[in-house]
Symmetry: D2
Subunit: 361 residues, 4 copies
Amino acid sequence: MSFNTFGHMFRVTTFGESHGVALGCVVDGCPPRLPLTAEDIQLDLDRRRPGQSRFTTQRQEPDQVKILSGVMDDAAGRQVTTGTPIALMIENTDQRSKDYSDIKDKYRPGHADFTYEAKYGIRDYRGGGRSSARETAARVAAGAVARKVIPDITVRAALVQMGPHKIDRANWDWAEVARNPFFCPDKAKAEFYAEYLDDIRKNGSSIGAVVEVVAEGVPAGLGAPIYGKLDSDLASALMSINAVKGVEIGAGFGAAELHGEDNADEMRMGNTGPVFLSNHAGGILGGISTGQAVVARFAVKPTSSILTPRRTIDRSGAETDILTKGRHDPCVGIRAVPVGEAMVACVLADHLLRHRGQNAG
Amino acid sequence: MSFNTFGHMFRVTTFGESHGVALGCVVDGCPPRLPLTAEDIQLDLDRRRPGQSRFTTQRQEPDQVKILSGVMDDAAGRQVTTGTPIALMIENTDQRSKDYSDIKDKYRPGHADFTYEAKYGIRDYRGGGRSSARETAARVAAGAVARKVIPDITVRAALVQMGPHKIDRANWDWAEVARNPFFCPDKAKAEFYAEYLDDIRKNGSSIGAVVEVVAEGVPAGLGAPIYGKLDSDLASALMSINAVKGVEIGAGFGAAELHGEDNADEMRMGNTGPVFLSNHAGGILGGISTGQAVVARFAVKPTSSILTPRRTIDRSGAETDILTKGRHDPCVGIRAVPVGEAMVACVLADHLLRHRGQNAG
Amino acid sequence: MSFNTFGHMFRVTTFGESHGVALGCVVDGCPPRLPLTAEDIQLDLDRRRPGQSRFTTQRQEPDQVKILSGVMDDAAGRQVTTGTPIALMIENTDQRSKDYSDIKDKYRPGHADFTYEAKYGIRDYRGGGRSSARETAARVAAGAVARKVIPDITVRAALVQMGPHKIDRANWDWAEVARNPFFCPDKAKAEFYAEYLDDIRKNGSSIGAVVEVVAEGVPAGLGAPIYGKLDSDLASALMSINAVKGVEIGAGFGAAELHGEDNADEMRMGNTGPVFLSNHAGGILGGISTGQAVVARFAVKPTSSILTPRRTIDRSGAETDILTKGRHDPCVGIRAVPVGEAMVACVLADHLLRHRGQNAG
Amino acid sequence: MSFNTFGHMFRVTTFGESHGVALGCVVDGCPPRLPLTAEDIQLDLDRRRPGQSRFTTQRQEPDQVKILSGVMDDAAGRQVTTGTPIALMIENTDQRSKDYSDIKDKYRPGHADFTYEAKYGIRDYRGGGRSSARETAARVAAGAVARKVIPDITVRAALVQMGPHKIDRANWDWAEVARNPFFCPDKAKAEFYAEYLDDIRKNGSSIGAVVEVVAEGVPAGLGAPIYGKLDSDLASALMSINAVKGVEIGAGFGAAELHGEDNADEMRMGNTGPVFLSNHAGGILGGISTGQAVVARFAVKPTSSILTPRRTIDRSGAETDILTKGRHDPCVGIRAVPVGEAMVACVLADHLLRHRGQNAG
């Protein structure tokens, strides 16, 4: 992963900050002749868009994507990829200059304000600049293209924990995910979250969450034994999402507590090939996919934009307090769900092409 | 991270498998005129070497490193780097053809046997081939070079959990790490682990662990806001270590349970600059180092080479049982401690050079 | 150089084809706090724009660049780079669907029509798609950013040969380059070219050319001894320009005819340091800049869009004839002059940052 | 191309200098199950080895290659690639410390002595260090592996010009290449070169040369329209060879002198598909292979190690003279022939895998 490019064969380069003219990405290396329209991409973008319930920020961003290049109509009149770079752009429609005078010289605790300035000697105080969660729209757009590259793989994600409250896995129902504002697969827990998060929101506080991504239909053989491990690339991709502080595969940190005989997934022969009797591995052994579902989980910290005053310093070094007024996400983990899907889709598309390049002969 | 190369400016390419002639790495992009001898590297390698206590595999691998290129004597007679590729080689002295007939056609549960063959159509059954933990010697060697690039940064690691048993952080004493065979900073817990792991070892079982890496002296400003995030590269690097199933930074998965006002680290002015009142961020905000200690943790699964028979299949698809006789590591997490240090050192060296390239002007 | 990205620290990713919505590029890794406006970039773009004399294609493309991201006003009110990706977009204003029915199923000799389809299984017949020379606008835009990174280096280019007619180097005057439509530094030869090319143009023919790029002020030390050689990266960058068939450095192919005593540039001490008594090396020895002017030359083939019918086949394999009616460039080498400058500027910016990363310590 | 790595899917990282312990390379991304032995590689190395005639340096370097990793015996007992990194090592057997006292503080004109020190602040005076032509052995070894990846492509090279004396192309006979010490395909010209070069050698002088590489059997479709152009990667690869100052494809610099109707290769239908009536394109149109032979040419400057004293300065800045006593290559272009083949083979192998990755679906 370079500064702003990730992937090797399926490569995504993103650009844009919260208050520039536009944000977007260039997807390079996409195979040709795949059907792709702006509507395909918009579907995924709409799932990520804020302001769809009282549990996400009330900002209104239409997030309409435009395909600038890399597609054309084929002989049958379908718009398809050409194999050349696909540039996607989302204009920032609401970049009016809000009054940032109360925060522009203060470092918000938990935000990148201080580190951004330490790095670049300049700070983009307008909505966090490049560090803004708005940038994740570009990832989701790229992920929609990635899905076209892996049509036989289903990548879905769900929120499985909010604060200390985990879902009951016995209740897991993928259909529920689309029915509640939390992308939660456990209907009962979703109802609990509604009340729980309302309290947090009203208090001007925020809370962390855990998101789980599951990719089904991944063929055995993607990845590499050591450095180009599929899990290594997933870890990088998911950790690169704003506010993520941890990533795990399969049993993850839980594997630290297991004995060898409990952790290793036994094998039997099924009707159509080898089957595993459990999936502690999360679909990846020795960096290479097993053919089981690939399961990754990531922890999202609570947003630091809260109403409670916090101690900080300003650019001159003077000590001061700060609080963040206005719209915010009480649980940014919610909107990270489609973002996690997108990143996993991109990694799998990349590994599919890499594997094919090395091994298709 | 490419198939077998990682880093951008400080780039490491590794090679070798458990039963080849040799393993090693090429370190490219290392700054010139840094003092470097084989002895410097050997010190780190010796910490990783097996067979130093009854708690690690009893294999005897001297793991003597040779510097093949990239150094010369300077005018003062010191051996220094030249700025050109540093090739490091460790010969496999004990590659006699052990009898693998009982496992060469069976897939060991929890090992990469099945996935390796699914990928390459061939399986290196001799000690796991490229998937062998022996490969981590190359990482440790590269890490020793990386330390020369970041002389003001101290990178240390410790085992902080074995099975479900976490250390008592109040007891943390870095000096203890060198005094017990577990790299454990909590003297009391190390004594407990000795008994605990002896039982596991005698039962032919194995157990997972959690390792924590702490880098002190990291200047503020390393990393990037989004894709070249310092934490993203750390996640990739640590997840690429054999048997690792999870990575977290700072509060990590614990951050999911926190409210915003508890998670964000407040700031005050200290004598020599800004100070943070806590370090939930693990020294990284918005992908960029804060100047606090960088803190990463990773979970290591229990080795799957155990004495209990497990159900599996063989290459012909027939169902069978397998057990792994002979020497093994009851807790591979122990030897992962110096490996984790090495990977973090490499990532920090790379980011220091990248930062300097973009921002030193 | 990846499919559509080049550079390591100063990285450029381009997108767009002749008949898409827009073309442009993302410049990643640019240092922060460099003054940069759209006007700065437009100046270079305007030099490349077609339709400015009767010697270039009469298409009208305003080629107005927009900066989509990566800049903001600093405290002094100047627009500066932020260190994050700079996305540049040029909209295709004139993408009306011209009638391509006479050529859409035929492969134009000397064009990429046949190879494009052989590769992607689809052909973008609308103006050549990604292979269109229009794409070079993105390079020129990136080059304008690169110039900001290397303010002490002057990169200039000139047309030094058209067909078999070379300039007289004794007449070289950089000021002339801006005064004639050929970017020719030899006033007398420019007058000759005007007549010569008029004949070619009226005959519906075309002619090749050679362009020379000279970079002055390059500090000694950029590049690397072997694979990251400065000349190797220049060769790649210049050969990647449409229609280029050859690249040489310094004495170039002429060096093949020289004896060692004539080719090696002798050294003396000057007032401010070492000086070379000649520059057969073209400012690069062993892949590393010497401090002399870096001199590169590239050959541009004649455009294949000509009025003379040529034998070819169509997509069905039937033999046929083709001729290209309408506007064309009788000597595409002319407009390659600012493109060559841009590519050299990008390579030098990249190597400056890479050198600083490895060696600034 | 990174500092010391080139290729994307088929990636080669080289290491080593003339007076280190060893030199070699790591080949990453090679497909599995390809037969590969040290003998296969040695055949190519032996063609490059010095001391085989009076026309190359009289140094004796056995250049025996060892395969350190990445191969194993398959079920049929053949040694094959495993898909993991192939490390190749050539030990420097004759690294005795020759007396360099007369040149170690002087910069040899035409050599990298001055630039090396300007870059790294240290100079490897022992045989040129990393800049030594000895490094090309690693390229040849990598090229031998590359050939296994492209078994249907024949890559051959020949010396086509020495000093101002070009071969007569009417006499081209590939069989001649192995019969004379110049790799010259024109028997009559080879006889002329023998006398011509003997004079140069006896005078302690040296002369430049041009080498042509021809790859037959390249399928149409390798490359990309713009930045990942096949010719762009060839230019980079060939220009990275020591002493190369120019690269051209097909008609090359000659294309600058042609009219459009002469340069564009017309097409007809042959028995097995499209045929071209000429090959000015050198097998590449729009960056993508046409299916014709790929033809590249590169110019090699005369070595600067000559017996005539030349003016130079020393490290203290004092003006002085220098001459290079002892063994040298009167025409280093000769030994560049197998090196050119190797680089082209590596580029083609890389592009084959990249193409397959993107387009095999």
